[in-house]
């Protein structure tokens, strides 16, 4: 063979593409080494064979057409791998999978004309790697696309969240340059959308500043575990608004800040605070606010010498109005009282309702000079004068009646006042002093004001001590009855006995009823003690009946307190009489004028019941109360007891004498017996005898005695010598009662 031919053949077989040449009959003329290896068909086997016999089903469609074009018309063709990937069944060894894998092919078909013969060359390129790379690239491209899309969606979502958030969100650089604001932030700061101006965070939050050296923002609180820090923010239009914020870094590149406008919240808090500090019914400050203000007032007094005063005010007998007219009327009264009270004080003063019918007023700065340390007496005088005038005003506003549910009702107040100066130790102490003063005011008959003094303290202490003791007095047999005889003018005999309650205190000795009876009433012990008194008195009367010391027409008189005078009294009386086994005619109840005046309707019913039982009824302390005489004709009363005030100075005082005479005459006209209390002198006795008073009671005859001494007295009859001569007259008939 020619050397060029040998070289050509060598080159032909070294090609790394497959090459085959077929003739017009489609028989293989050339078949290179690459093709042999890939097809497992050797050149020797292929040459001379028809292509469609070597590879059945291959030479058709596009390839067939291309071969025809080449052989018949000398037209070249390409078969792209994309459309015709595996035209020929070719394989190769793949290193990575250690397998034979198919070869992806790209074909070139070219006509060859040699002399007059047409041939067709088919060139086969291995594009497997390209396909693979394409696949990978495409895969990567798809992934990138997906990532881009996901990112886009995620971006939109994040943006959407921030854009639609009702919270203000803004970002700014480490130097404070604002990068973005969401719509809420723009709204909060009043920035119009179109505004593109450069903003610094320091414009919006002037309270922040830059830490000079480091360039990090100063004053920015990152830790929100104690709640979001608060600042004043400044809108573009200059308006300042309270805000709270939270802030965080993002990758050390910028800050993200979320802001809440607190304006609304602060307004709500203010309203709530108001609700929490003011009394719903009256609109006055409530106890909570009062406590706060009082603390400040005391502090200012102690530290700055500002002289102030505390007034505690209770409505007198509010409970009885509430009980008799109902709670609505009670509330209405409280409302009206509050308005009148407010009118008595300055705007700076605090008028508060502590609860129920309790009020308190804090009068700030009542005139003592400021800064005076300690409070001097001149300043104190000025202050006291000021407060006194205020208290007078308060007492004054109660002089006009209140219109409750169409009725005119009078009310009054008891007021306790304590001055607050540099000497004031504490709010507690100040309040206690005012309380003591209030107590004293009540004690003085109510409807008045009292300033606290140290004396009051002592009196108060004593009272409190006694109150405590009283609770045990009955149990400890410290209470006992003394008996004072009543002597008849007509017969000169004992015609009645008054039982009087005594308290022998273990350490303090005998305590006056004037002291402890009010305490009994105040503590409510009166019911229990009163029942005991009735029961004991009746028992004693029984004993004296049994021992015939007293005649049956000699009643035992028992004092009944206003607090006892209710329906329960009837049961108590019945029980006492029943248990003792005495007749009603042996019992007399003594009621004071003021007691009878308090509740007229009920009074009538009770008196009638008592009278119906057969018990005698006597009006004690007659002439001392503000009463009308018309009731005398309505009430089933047996006798009147002229108050000792008229008897004591009957000699010296003409008025007393006249009144005593008049009362006796009046009583007789109405068929009532008259008892004179406090007969201490012979002269008095004589005068009273002249006036024809029926019964005498007093030290002249005897003081109140214990059982033994009384029995002794009764038997000895020493008083007989004192008695005036028995006079005749129609008035004598009165004694036997009616």
């Amino acid at each position: 063979m020619h050397s060029t031919t040998r070289l050509s053949t060598a080159a032909f077989d070294l090609l790394n593409v497959g090459v085959l040449i077929i003739d017009q009959q489609c028989c293989v003329v050339e078949w290179n080494e690459w093709l042999s290896k890939s097809s497992a068909v050797s050149a020797a086997a292929a040459k001379g064979q028809r292509l469609d016999e070597i590879f059945p089903d291959v030479v058709r469609g596009r390839l067939g057409q291309a071969i025809t074009h080449a052989l018949d018309a000398q037209l070249s063709s390409t078969l792209s791998s994309a459309i015709n990937r595996f035209v020929f069944p070719l394989t190769k060894f793949d290193g990575s999978s250690l397998q034979q894998v198919p070869i992806a092919q790209s074909l070139l078909i070219k006509p060859i004309v040699e002399a007059a013969d047409s041939y067709c060359m088919i060139c086969i390129h291995d594009v497997t790697e390209t396909v693979k790379r394409e696949g990978i690239l495409r895969e990567k491209s798809n992934q990138l696309q997906k990532l881009a899309k996901d990112y886009e969606v995620s971006e939109q979502r994040s943006r959407g969240i921030i854009e639609s958030s009702l919270d203000s969100v803004l970002t700014f650089t480490l130097e404070g340059l604002v990068q973005s604001l969401n719509p809420a932030a723009r709204g909060m700061f009043g920035i119009a959308d179109e505004r593109e101006a450069v903003l610094s965070i320091f414009d919006l939050l002037p309270e922040l500043s830059v830490k000079k050296d480091i360039g990090v923002l100063e004053g920015l609180v990152i830790d929100v575990s104690n709640g979001w820090p608060k600042l004043m923010a400044r809108r573009i239009d200059g308006v300042e608004i309270p805000v709270e914020y939270s802030v965080s870094y993002v990758d050390d590149l910028f800050y993200t800040m979320v802001l809440h406008d607190l304006t609304e919240r602060e307004a709500v808090e203010k309203r709530l605070k108001r609700l929490a500090q003011y009394d719903g019914l009256t609109g006055l400050a409530n106890r909570r606010l009062f406590t706060e203000v009082l603390a400040t007032t005391v502090m200012r007094a102690r530290q700055h010498g500002e002289l102030s005063a505390l007034m505690l005010l209770d409505l007198d007998r509010f409970k009885s109005i509430n009980d008799s007219m109902g709670h609505e009327a009670g509330d209405e009264l409280l409302s009206q009282v509050s308005s009148r009270l407010e009118g008595c004080f300055r705007d700076d003063d605090l008028v508060a309702r502590l609860g129920g019918d309790e009020f308190a007023i804090v009068l700030n700065s009542v005139g003592g000079s400021r800064g005076a340390q300690p409070t001097d007496s001149v300043s104190m005088d000025v202050g006291v004068g000021f407060v006194t005038r205020a208290a007078e005003r308060v007492v004054g506003v109660f002089s006009e009646p209140f219109n409750l549910q169409g009725r005119e009702v009078f009310s009054s107040a008891s007021i306790g006042i304590a001055m607050c100066s540099t000497d004031t130790e504490s709010e507690a102490r100040l309040t206690k002093c005012a309380d003591v003063a209030l107590y004293a005011a009540k004690d003085q008959g109510r409807n008045n004001y009292q300033f606290y003094t140290e004396n009051l303290d002592k009196a108060c202490e004593i009272k409190l001590g006694l109150e405590n003791n009283l609770h045990h007095a009955l149990k400890n047999r410290e209470l006992m009855l003394s008996y004072q005889p009543q002597i008849s003018r007509a017969t000169g005999e004992i015609c009645g006995v008054e039982a009087l309650l005594r308290w022998r205190h273990p350490s303090k000795g005998n305590i006056s009823p004037e002291v402890f009876v009010p305490l009994l009433e105040a503590t409510g012990l009166i019911q229990q003690v009163g029942e005991w008194v009735l029961s004991e008195a009746c028992m004693q009367r029984k004993r004296w009946q049994a021992s015939k010391l007293l005649s049956d027409s000699c009643p035992m008189a028992v004092n009944i307190s206003g607090k006892q005078f209710n329906g329960a009294l009837l049961d108590a009386v019945r029980k006492a009489m029943g248990d003792a086994g005495i007749e009603p005619c042996m019992l007399e109840v003594e009621l004071t004028e003021s007691t009878l005046m308090e509740k007229t309707q009920e009074t009538n019913a009770l008196l009638n019941e008592l009278s119906g039982m057969g018990v005698a009824i006597s009006i004690d302390d007659f002439g001392t109360g503000y009463s009308s005489l018309s009731y005398l004709k309505d009430f089933p009363v047996t006798s009147l007891k002229v108050d000792k005030s008229f008897v004591i100075d009957i000699i010296d005082n003409d008025s007393s004498s006249s009144i005593a005479e008049a009362v006796i005459a009046l009583a007789h006209t109405m068929g009532l017996k008259v008892v004179a209390e406090g007969v201490e002198t012979q002269q008095a006795l004589d005068v009273l005898s002249r006036f024809e008073c029926d019964v005498f009671q007093g030290f002249l005859f005897s003081k109140a005695l214990n059982v033994e001494d009384f029995e002794c007295f009764a038997r000895q009859q020493h008083w007989q010598s004192l008695m005036p001569p028995v006079s005749s007259g129609p008035s004598n008939n009165v004694i036997s009662g009616h």
Partner: protein, 207 residues
């Protein structure tokens, strides 16, 4: 600038011949795409190169995607199959069922386009060669891209010496029509040769 005027008869004859060639191309393409492809050539015209701006798009500067195939023999020149760029991609996508991103025309897509061009142009050549009984050599196709002027202006020879035989072609596929254009660019001498062959054919038919 030379002009060549073709008679009505010549133009009609060419249209006929090309339609036949196109028919077999359509069959091949149908197989390749797996869709029913209809190809038709409504009109034939002959123009100087400078005038032969594409009728495909109104815009002279529009980018076209083209397959060119050089031919030689009794007459020589370059055959072009022209598509507007977007449409060519559309065609390729359908051929190889690809969902590639818009701007990418990878190696495979180029190959696929070349193959389509090849199928159509070869079918025409084959028909011409058979019916006109003339000898042609067709080279391997290439893919080129550019404006119509750029594409046609390539190659050797003086532009003024060249004329273009333009055949507008319609690709009808159920999924939507694609419009393309076949152009045969030859120098005047070749064209004259070509026309002589056409006349010879006509004479044979008539007689």
């Amino acid at each position: 600038m030379k002009t060549l005027k073709l008679s009505e008869l010549q133009l009609d004859t060419l249209a006929e011949i090309f339609n036949i060639g196109i028919g077999s191309a359509a069959a091949s393409l149908s197989e390749m795409i797996n869709e029913d492809v209809q190809l038709s050539i409504p009109s034939v015209s002959c123009l100087p190169v400078m005038q032969a701006s594409s009728t495909l798009t109104g815009d002279q500067s529009a980018i076209l995607s083209a397959v060119e195939q050089h031919f030689s023999g009794e007459f020589e020149g370059t055959a072009f199959l022209l598509f507007p760029k977007g449409e060519s991609l559309e065609l390729v996508r359908r051929l190889i069922s690809s969902d590639l991103p818009l701007e990418e025309l990878s190696e495979f897509e180029e190959d696929a386009l070349k193959e389509v061009g090849n199928v159509i142009l070869n079918a025409c050549f084959y028909t011409i060669s058979n019916m006109l009984d003339c000898h042609l050599d067709g080279d391997i196709p290439n893919h080129v891209q550019g404006s119509c002027q750029e594409i046609l202006g390539r190659g050797d020879g003086d532009i003024d010496e060249k004329v273009v035989l333009m055949l507008s072609m319609t690709f009808s596929i159920p999924s939507g029509d694609i419009n393309g254009e076949i152009s045969y660019m030859m120098n005047v001498k070749s064209m004259q040769n070509f026309l002589r062959i056409v006349d010879t054919y006509l004479t044979q038919i008539i007689s």
